[in-house]
C-alpha cells in the first residue's frame, strides 16, 4: 500500500511549499494549503482517535467544522496545548504537533476498547443508571471514568497568547462566502450598504469553488470559473469588508452576533509571539444574511463508524480541493444524486471506484448515466448491512432492500474496499438561525427543516434555506435579495444555469439489516457513541420529548452538538413513536456553533484586568507599608499591616490593642458617600431610614438603618446634616452602588413629587479615621485652630474646617467605640493629610489598622456589619435594634413588613453574643449552633456570624444568630465541630464598655 495518495495537483495546494508536522510523535509531510486531515489522508492515515464510550477506532469523517471524530490534542504538555481541535479545520504549519485523544495507552492499543465488547452492558442511560448509585461510590467511579474516558487534556500553564475583542457595526452582515454569500455580499455592497462578509474557511467560494464538473455551468462557464471572477470583483469593493477564518459562534436577538476571527492559528509557533491570536468580533448588524450552507447527512447502518468511512462530499472535497485520494478502492453509498458528483470527480482524477450502492431502485439522471457509461457497477435498490475491518474498513456486505424499504431481501454480496463514502442527502445549516430565535418548518418532500419565521431583520439564502440545486439557488437569490434589501434589480436575474442534479431521494432514517437491532451498532452520534438502538431503548423506557431522549442517550451532546446525526435521531424517534417530524420539533442548538477557547471569551480581561479594582487615594502608602489587602466589592482595602515576622493574628492583636490603648488610624475612604440636596431632603430620609430625621440639627450626625420593603436590613451608615437642605449619607463599602440605585428608584418612580437630588461622591473624598484615647490630642495637632472640646464638638457632630489651605469636613463619629474623628478631604489631598496624621501621631504610637482590626473592634462593641451578621433575612428587631425603629413615623420603606405574621414570630433567628467556656477557644465563623448534639437529626438553632480573640478583653468573643436568642441570655449551647464540641454561653452582644464611657474619655 502506498503512503502517498496525492492525485493530480490542485491549485489550492502549493506543492513547492513542503511542511513537516508530527502526529503521535511521528513526522509526516504535507503542503501549504493542507489541513491536518488532508495531510494525514495523503499519508494514508485514517485512524485518528477512539470513541468516547466504546473506545472504537475512529477516523476522519468530514472535511469541515461538523467533524465528530477526528479531534486531536495540539502541542501536548506545552503552554500552547489545546484539546478537541478538529483535524479537518486546523491548517498545517511547520512544527505542528498533534496527538490522538481518548486513548490510553495508545491509539493502536487502547485498554478502553474492551468497552466495545462489553457494550451489551453499556446501553443508553448506563452512566445514569449505574454510576449514580450508591452516591457514596461516586468518587471511585469518577476516577475510573475520568482515567479511561474524557476528551483531551486542558492546559495547566497560563495561556501565552493574546486575544482581543472588537465591536463592529454594519448595515449588512453576510455569513458564509459560498456562491450564495458571494452574490449577496456583492449585491448588498454595490447598492451602498456597508457590508461585512465572513467565512470560517481560509478561502472564499464554499463548495462551488472546487466544482470542476462540466455538469454544472453558469452562463456557459464551469461554475467554479464563474464564481472565481465574482470573487475577484468583490475584493475591489470599498464598502465590503471580507473576513476569512472567521467563524460565527453565536447569533443573539436584535442581530447581535459573536464571531471568532482566527489570526495566527495557521502560523508556525515562532511567528505567533506578540500577535493577537483570536479576535472576538461583537457584531451589531442592521440586516443579516445567512448563507451558511448545508451539511451532508451520513447513513445509519450497522458499523457505520469505521476509519475509512467518510461523507461522500468530504471525499470529493479532499480530491478536488486538496488533491488527495481518501482510498484506492472506493465504494460510495447513497440515497440521492450527490454521491454521483463525487464519483465523477474521482473518476476524472483516475481514482478507482469499486461500486456505488444506491438505495433508490430507479435512477436515470445524467450524472448516473455518465457513471454507467464508464462501467462503474451501481447496485440499485441495495443497502449496506455490515462493514468489516477494525482499524480501517476493508469490506462491506450489501443486500437488496424490500419494496417498502423496511427489510432486506435476497442474499448477501461482499465487496472489498478501503474507503466508503456515504451520502444521505443534505441538512440545511440552520443552527445560527435557530440560535437567533428563528422558527423552523419541516419540508416533507425531502425531509428537511428550513427557516420559517424570522425574529429579526434577517434572511437565509442558498442551501441553508433548503435550495440545494444550482438552479434553485440562482433563481431564488435575486428575488429574495431584492425584497430583503429593498432594491429594484440585481445583476443575477438572467443567468443561464445548467445543472444535471436530480433531486429524487429515498429517505430511510435507519436502514434495515438482516440482524436483530440488539446485535447491531448503527451510530447516530459518533462523538458520544449513541446508536439507533439507544434511541429505541429510550423510547421503550417511556421517553417521548426530543429534549429528554437527547439527554438520556447523550445524542447531540458532544462538542459537535450532533451536527451530523441529530436529524436521524429525530427521524428514528418519529418512525418509532409514530409521530410527525414537523411536530416533534428539534433540539435547541446553543452557542457557540463551534467551541471557543476561554482566551477568546475573556480577551484582554486577564490578570489584573480581569476585573476592575478600585484603589483609595492612600493606596500607595498601604503598599509601601506592607499592608495585606482584601477585596471588598471592587475595592482593595488594607486588611492588616504585618510587621517583621508577624502573622495575621499577631498583627491584628497588636493593631487592636494600640487603637484602644492610644491611637489607631484607618483609611475609610471606600465607604459609599451620597450627596443629598433639595427642599425635601429631610422628608426623603424619613421615608428611607427606619428612624426620624426631621429634627436632626444642622451640623449633627445620625446613624441610620435602611430596610428593604420586606422589612429586612439592607444597609446602614451615618448621615450628616450639612445644611438645611443638604445631607451627606454614608453607606457600606459594598452597598454604595445598590443603595444609590434603590434611592433613585423610589425617587423617580414612587415619589417624583419630592424635590431631592442624589449624587454619588464616594471617589471625591478621602476619609481618614483616627480613633483611641489619644485621638483628640492628635487631631488638635493636625488642626490646631479647631475647638475639640466636648461642648463645642460633641460625639455625633461635624465641623467644616481647614488643614492649612485644605478644606475638610471632620465628623466625630465612631465605629470602634473609641473617641474618634473622621477627616474627609478632597481625594487628591488624602495622602498628604494621612501623612500629617501619622507624623503628628508618632509620639502617641499612632497605629495604622486594617479592616480585620476594624471588624474586631466593632465586634467588641456589638456593632453589626450588614452582610456579615445579617443575610437579608434579619429585621432590626431580630438584631435587637428596636431602638432605631421609629414608632411615631407613619411610614418608611419596610415598615409594614415588620409586623407581618412571619416577622413577629418569637422563634426567628436573633442576634446574640457568645462566649466560650475556654476563653482561648476562638469559634469558626459559620459554625452551627445547637442545644443538644446527641439527638439525631440535630436541630440547628443558628450559626456564628463573627468571631475574634479580643486582646482588650483577653478572651474569645463571637456574635451569632440563634432561634429565639433574645430570650436565651445565660443559656449554655454547643458548637459541634469535626473532632470536638465547644461549649458556649449566650450573652449580650455588647462585650466592651456598655455605658459608652470611652466615647468621651
Amino acid at each position: 500500500m502506498t503512503d502517498n495518495l496525492r492525485v493530480k495537483s490542485s491549485k489550492f495546494i502549493d506543492e513547492t511549499y513542503k511542511i513537516s508536522f508530527k502526529f503521535n510523535n511521528k513526522t509526516y509531510y504535507g503542503y501549504k494549503g493542507d489541513t491536518l486531515a488532508s495531510a494525514l489522508l495523503a499519508n494514508n492515515i485514517h485512524l485518528i482517535g477512539r470513541s468516547f464510550k466504546y473506545h472504537r477506532p475512529r477516523g476522519i469523517m468530514t472535511a469541515g467544522s461538523e467533524e465528530p471524530n477526528a479531534i486531536v490534542q495540539l502541542h501536548k504538555n506545552t503552554s500552547r496545548t489545546e484539546p478537541n481541535v478538529r483535524a479537518t479545520e486546523i491548517e498545517i504549519y511547520e512544527g505542528l504537533e498533534a496527538s490522538s485523544q481518548n486513548c490510553w495507552p495508545s491509539v493502536n492499543f487502547d485498554i478502553g476498547g474492551i468497552n466495545n465488547f462489553l457494550s451489551p452492558v453499556l446501553p443508553a442511560g448506563f452512566y445514569y443508571k449505574t454510576f449514580m448509585w450508591p452516591a457514596s461510590f461516586w468518587e471511585k467511579y469518577e476516577y475510573f471514568i475520568r482515567k479511561s474516558a474524557g476528551l483531551g487534556k486542558s492546559p495547566t500553564e497560563p495561556d501565552p497568547d493574546i486575544y482581543e475583542h472588537k465591536y463592529i457595526h454594519c448595515d449588512v452582515l453576510v455569513i458564509g462566502a459560498g456562491i450564495s454569500g458571494i452574490i449577496a455580499a456583492k449585491t448588498s455592497a454595490k447598492n451602498g450598504f456597508k457590508t461585512l462578509l465572513v467565512d470560517e474557511k481560509p478561502y472564499l467560494g464554499g463548495s462551488t469553488i472546487y466544482q470542476n464538473s462540466e455538469h454544472f455551468k453558469i452562463n456557459n462557464q464551469i461554475s467554479s470559473s464563474w464564481l472565481e471572477k465574482e470573487i475577484n470583483e468583490i475584493r475591489k469593493i470599498d464598502n465590503l469588508e471580507i473576513k476569512t477564518r472567521t467563524s460565527v459562534a453565536a447569533f443573539h436577538g436584535y442581530n447581535f452576533l459573536l464571531a471568532r476571527e482566527s489570526l495566527t492559528d495557521h502560523l508556525p509557533l515562532h511567528q505567533r509571539d506578540g500577535k493577537v491570536r483570536h479576535k472576538l468580533l461583537k457584531i451589531r448588524a442592521k440586516k443579516v444574511i445567512s448563507a451558511t450552507g448545508s451539511l451532508e447527512r451520513p447513513l445509519i447502518f450497522d458499523n457505520n463508524d469505521r476509519p475509512g468511512i467518510l461523507l461522500s462530499s468530504a471525499i470529493e472535497k479532499y480530491s478536488n480541493l486538496f488533491g488527495v485520494a481518501c482510498g484506492q478502492k472506493n465504494v460510495l453509498f447513497t440515497n440521492n444524486d450527490s454521491a454521483y458528483e463525487t464519483a465523477i470527480s474521482l473518476f476524472n482524477k483516475g481514482i478507482d471506484i469499486k461500486a456505488i450502492i444506491d438505495n433508490r431502485e430507479e435512477v436515470d439522471s445524467k450524472l448516473v448515466k455518465e457513471i454507467e457509461k464508464n462501467n462503474i457497477k451501481i447496485f440499485k435498490g441495495y443497502t449496506i448491512v455490515d462493514t468489516f475491518g477494525y482499524k480501517r474498513i476493508n469490506k462491506i456486505s450489501i443486500m437488496q432492500l424490500s419494496k417498502d424499504g423496511q427489510k432486506v431481501v435476497g442474499s448477501k454480496i461482499s465487496i472489498d474496499c478501503d474507503c466508503l463514502g456515504m451520502s444521505g442527502g443534505w441538512t440545511p445549516a440552520v443552527h445560527l438561525f435557530t440560535q437567533s430565535g428563528g422558527k423552523l418548518k419541516f419540508r416533507d418532500d425531502d425531509q428537511v427543516f428550513i427557516p420559517d419565521i424570522y425574529p429579526s431583520d434577517q434572511i437565509s439564502i442558498g442551501s441553508c434555506n433548503g435550495d440545494f440545486t444550482l438552479e434553485e439557488i440562482l433563481t431564488n437569490i435575486s428575488k429574495t435579495l431584492k425584497n430583503f434589501l429593498n432594491i429594484k434589480k440585481t445583476e443575477y436575474e438572467n443567468l443561464e444555469v445548467q445543472s444535471h442534479f436530480n433531486k429524487t431521494k429515498r429517505n430511510i432514517w435507519l436502514l434495515p439489516t438482516n440482524k436483530v437491532i440488539g446485535k447491531t451498532k448503527p451510530f447516530v452520534d459518533y462523538q458520544n457513541d449513541a446508536t439507533a438502538k439507544d434511541i429505541k431503548l429510550a423510547l421503550r423506557e417511556g421517553f417521548r420529548s426530543i429534549e429528554h431522549v437527547k439527554r438520556y442517550t447523550t445524542t447531540g451532546m458532544g462538542t459537535d452538538q450532533g451536527k451530523l446525526g441529530n436529524m436521524h435521531a429525530l427521524g428514528i424517534i418519529s418512525e418509532t413513536a409514530g409521530s410527525k417530524m414537523g411536530e416533534l420539533g428539534t433540539t435547541t442548538f446553543r452557542p457557540p456553533y463551534t467551541p471557543l477557547t476561554f482566551g477568546t471569551i475573556v480577551g484582554r480581561n486577564v490578570g489584573e484586568y480581569f476585573d476592575i479594582f478600585r484603589k483609595t487615594a492612600i493606596h500607595d502608602w498601604h503598599v509601601e507599608n506592607k499592608a495585606q489587602f482584601e477585596n471588598v466589592g471592587q475595592w482593595k482595602r488594607a486588611w492588616f499591616y504585618p510587621k517583621e515576622n508577624e502573622n495575621m493574628h499577631d498583627a491584628v492583636q497588636r493593631e487592636s490593642k494600640a487603637a484602644r490603648d492610644s491611637a489607631g488610624i484607618l483609611d475609610a475612604s471606600t465607604l459609599g458617600k451620597i450627596d443629598i440636596q433639595g427642599t425635601d431632603a429631610s422628608e426623603f430620609l424619613n421615608r428611607v431610614y427606619t428612624n426620624a430625621w426631621s429634627k436632626l440639627a444642622i451640623g449633627k450626625c445620625r446613624y441610620g438603618l435602611m430596610l428593604n420593603e420586606d422589612g429586612m436590613v439592607y444597609d446602614d451608615g451615618v448621615t450628616t446634616r450639612l445644611d438645611e437642605n443638604h445631607y451627606i449619607m454614608t453607606t457600606t463599602t459594598g452597598g454604595a452602588a445598590t443603595v444609590l440605585g434603590k434611592l433613585e428608584d423610589y425617587l423617580q418612580t414612587e415619589w417624583p413629587e419630592l424635590d431631592v437630588y442624589l449624587t454619588s461622591v464616594t471617589d471625591h473624598y478621602a476619609t481618614i479615621s483616627v480613633c483611641g484615647p489619644n485621638s483628640k490630642k492628635i487631631i488638635s495637632k493636625v488642626i490646631p485652630n479647631l475647638d475639640l472640646s466636648d461642648e463645642k464638638f460633641p460625639h455625633m457632630s461635624f465641623k467644616n474646617t481647614k488643614i492649612g489651605k485644605i478644606k475638610c469636613r471632620v465628623m466625630r463619629i465612631s465605629f470602634t467605640g473609641e473617641q474618634s474623628y473622621e477627616i474627609n478631604v478632597q481625594a487628591n489631598y488624602g495622602k498628604s493629610v494621612w501623612n500629617k496624621c501619622m507624623e503628628e501621631g508618632k509620639e502617641f504610637n499612632i497605629t495604622p489598622y486594617g479592616t480585620e482590626t476594624m471588624h474586631l473592634l466593632r465586634a467588641e462593641k456589638g456593632f453589626i456589619i450588614v452582610g456579615q451578621d445579617t443575610d437579608a433575612t434579619m429585621t432590626p428587631i431580630d438584631l435587637q435594634m428596636d431602638w432605631i425603629v421609629s414608632k411615631k413615623k407613619y411610614d418608611f420603606i419596610g415598615k409594614r413588613s415588620l409586623y407581618r405574621s412571619d416577622t413577629i414570630r418569637d422563634d426567628r433567628k436573633q442576634l446574640i453574643g457568645l462566649v466560650t467556656e475556654n476563653p482561648k477557644e476562638v469559634l469558626e465563623e459559620g459554625a452551627q449552633i445547637v442545644l443538644d448534639a446527641s439527638k439525631s437529626p440535630v436541630e440547628m438553632l443558628g450559626h456564628v456570624t463573627s468571631s475574634y480573640y479580643s486582646p482588650n478583653l483577653e478572651k474569645s468573643i463571637a456574635l451569632g444568630v440563634v432561634k429565639g436568642g433574645k430570650n436565651m441570655m445565660g443559656q449554655k449551647l454547643i458548637i459541634p465541630m469535626e473532632n470536638k464540641q465547644i461549649n458556649v454561653t449566650v450573652t449580650d452582644p455588647v462585650f466592651l464598655d456598655k455605658e459608652n464611657k470611652r466615647l468621651n474619655a
Binding site: 447581535f256 433613585e744 407581618r900
Partner: protein, 92 residues
C-alpha cells in the same frame, strides 16, 4: 442582546441597562391600613407573563433614568417604551 431606545439618550446596548420587574405596581399610600394578605399581594405577587408584559427598566450605565417598556417575553420584541408617569400605550 437587545437594543433599547432610552427615552432620554436614544438607542443603546442592553448591557447599559437593568431590568426592574413588572411595571405599574404602585406602592400603597397607606401600608399600615393593609392586611397581611393585601400587603403580601403588593410585596410578592408578580404576573411573569409569557407574552406581552409591562416592565420597568433603568439606564444604569447611562442617564440613570427609569422608564417603562412593553415587551413580548416570548420573543423579546420590544413593542413600546415610555417615560415614568406616562400612560401605558393601549396600542403597540
Amino acid at each position: 442582546m437587545f437594543l433599547i431606545h432610552c427615552p432620554y439618550c436614544g438607542e443603546r446596548e442592553q448591557s447599559e441597562f437593568k431590568a426592574g420587574g413588572e411595571a405599574h405596581i404602585v406602592r400603597p399610600k397607606q401600608p399600615t391600613e393593609l392586611s397581611d394578605d393585601q400587603w403580601a399581594e403588593y410585596l410578592f405577587m408578580r404576573k411573569n407573563i409569557k407574552g406581552v408584559q409591562f416592565e420597568r427598566w433603568v439606564h444604569t450605565h447611562g442617564c440613570r433614568k427609569w422608564f417603562n417598556m412593553v415587551r413580548d417575553t416570548s420573543n423579546d420584541e420590544i413593542k413600546a417604551i415610555y417615560k415614568m408617569g406616562e400612560k401605558p400605550p393601549t396600542k403597540y
